[in-house]
Structures are given as C-alpha cells and as structure tokens.
Symmetry: C2
Subunit: 207 residues, 2 copies
C-alpha cells in the first residue's frame, strides 16, 4: 500500500514540523526573535539545525508558515464566481476568522487561536516578519486578482481589481492588528466584518 506508506511518512513529517514551529514561537516570545538563533530552536526541538531548514526555508517562515493562507485562497476561488469579488473575499475572511479562533460551544479561544495570536504579535512587532508577511499578503492579492482571469485584462478593470483586493486584505489586516492589540478578547470575525463595512459599506455582508 503506497498510500499508507506516504501517508505515514507525511504524518511523521508534519508532526516534526509542528513541534519545531511550536518551540520556535515559544522561544521567540520568551527571548525575542532576533535574540533567538535557529540553533536555539533546533536544540529546543531536539533536532539538528539542518532539520529546521529542511522544514522551514527561512527563519521567518518559522512564524509565518501556516495553512490558513492557502485555505483562504481555496475558499475564495471556490466561491461562486458570479458574485462580486469583494463579497466573495469578505465572506471567506469572516468564515475563516470564525473557524480559527473560537470553539462554537464555549466561546473561548481555541489552542490554534492562541497560537495565531502569539504569531500575530511577533509579526506586528518584528520588522523582518512584518515585511515578509506583507509580501505574502501581496502575493495573495495577486492570486486573487489573477483568479479573475480576463475580467481584469484591460487597464481600468485591472486597477479596479487591484484596488478591491487590496482593500479587502487591508481590512483583514487592520482587523487582525486590532484583535492582537486586544489580546484576542474581541471576536475576530466581528472585527473583520466591521473593517469590511468601514471600507465598503453595509452592502458586502450576507444576510
């Protein structure tokens, strides 16, 4: 069974990766990003420095790598193409925020939410992380615009698409920063909704 083979390997690999990232973020929070070397992270995780680099191409990726960016992009491209772009993006943002931070029953932060909060604080306060994070967001913006296809072929349409996509992502970013400053007490999905309404008016939201 080659399926099970690769599956087990992948699980093993994913677990190692998760452990390395968890130790990295913990150390970065405790000692600061710049004051922590990749060797420190490797020792804490019980692996060699080379293994760290095998799982994370750069030190920044120890904080920035997550599944949510790809998940968000999939969610956006999977939404009905007939609807306006800002609604598609807006709903994907709100849905993701809800799923990621609160458990439905208790309303408390999920462990993933707490981890995201720690990573966000690092991203906001550390210049190197902030810069690369913004570049990732810009790449997502280009992916969103690219998903429009020929719709954005002419200059004017392209300007519109870039403006709409960047405004969506800026709204998300503003909401994330506010959420992090608030220590995660506010509801992230709510903040995203408010930021989107502030940028585009009430029309974006469903229901």
């Amino acid at each position: 069974m080659p399926d099970q083979h690769s599956t087990l390997r992948a699980q093993r690999r994913a677990e190692t990766q998760r452990a390395i990232q968890a130790h990295a973020v913990r150390l970065f929070v405790e000692r600061g990003y710049d004051a922590t070397t990749v060797i420190d992270v490797a020792e804490a995780a019980g692996v060699s420095p080379m293994t760290v680099y095998r799982h994370f191409p750069t030190k920044e990726d120890l904080v920035l790598v997550d599944q949510y960016g790809r998940l968000l992009a999939e969610r956006i491209t999977a939404s009905p193409a007939a609807r306006p772009l800002v609604r598609r993006v807006g709903n994907a943002l709100v849905d993701s925020a809800t799923a990621l931070t609160r458990s439905g029953t208790t309303g408390d932060l999920t462990p993933e939410g707490r981890f995201l909060l720690a990573r966000l604080r690092l991203m906001i306060s550390t210049p190197a992380l902030r810069a690369k994070h913004l570049d990732n967001q810009y790449a997502l913006q280009q992916a969103i615009v690219g998903a429009l296809g020929e719709e954005a072929a002419e200059p004017d349409a392209a300007f519109h698409a870039q403006a709409a996509a960047s405004a969506c992502l800026a709204a998300m970013h503003t909401a994330l920063v506010r959420w992090a400053e608030d220590e995660g007490r506010a509801d992230l999905a709510d903040l995203v909704r408010k930021a989107l309404v502030a940028a585009f008016g009430d029309g974006i939201l469903d229901g």
Copy 2:
C-alpha cells in the same frame, strides 16, 4: 560659520551616498541583486565595505532609500487638514509623480525618473526588496493615519482611516507597477489618477 561647516560636510556625505547607490543599482541591474555582494558595490564605488554600511544600514536600503517617501509624507501633512483625507493623499501622489518623472518642457523622463524606474523594477522582481518596500509603505500608512490624530481614536474611525490610507497607497503601488511594466512610457501622474479614480470614483481629483 558652523552653518557652512555642517553644510559642506553634509554635501560631501550626500555625494558619497549618491555615488554608492548609483553604482549599487547599476550592478544589481547588470548582475542581479542576489548575485551582487556588498563588497562588489563597495569596490565599484571605490570605498570600503564599511563605508557602504555607514551610509546604508542594509543591502536592501541601497535600492529602497530615497527622499520621496519623506517628501510625500510632508506634502500630505502640509495640506489643508479640513479637506478629506483621500483628496489630500491623492493630490500629493499626483503632484509627486508629475514632479519626479517628466521635465515640463520636453516631456521626456528625467534622470531621476529613469533611476526610479530601474529601482522600481528591482523592487518588484526581488522578493527581499519587495517585502521591505511593502513594509515601508505600511509605515507610511501608519504615519498618515497617525497624522489624523484624535479623529481616528475610536475603533470605527480607525478602521475607516486605515481603509482609506491603505487604498490610497495601494492605488499608488498599482500605478507604479503598471508604470514600471510599461517601461516608463506612460505618464505616471496619469496612472496614479486612474488608479485613484478606479478605487474611489471621480470625486477625489481637484478641478
């Protein structure tokens, strides 16, 4: 005359800095950013590597440092505070674009415009430069929002201000990218105007 003293010193320093940056950008364009070391730049400029670092804190700043960011910020904060933010920012962007790229009489690109074009292409194509450039833009956004003072104290107003400022800067960025892709043939101020209109409608522009 302590004035002349510091003035002459500053001129000397500024000239060295300009020469280093010119050689750096030329080499980056010729050989590529990653394939060019700071030592290469230092040798080309006829100075020691340490002198390069004295004038530019990081290798990225060899491409990113310019006076226009500060100039733009001053222009924005100097504009009448009574007017809407997007109009203030928009007019400052259009004015700066006009001043920086075309001579009034011939309509050709100024040397500064050609230099800006080369730097822009590097910023767009090199990940490290793009990331730090986006972080600089984000810092400018925060400065713009900060210039609003208590106007943006409440959450809702802050969301509005962040959304407006980021949309302005995204419009500028879109125009700059389009201008660079067009090899500088189009009129930058025109592109900025079109991007602003695409984002906000006709209302932003004066006259």
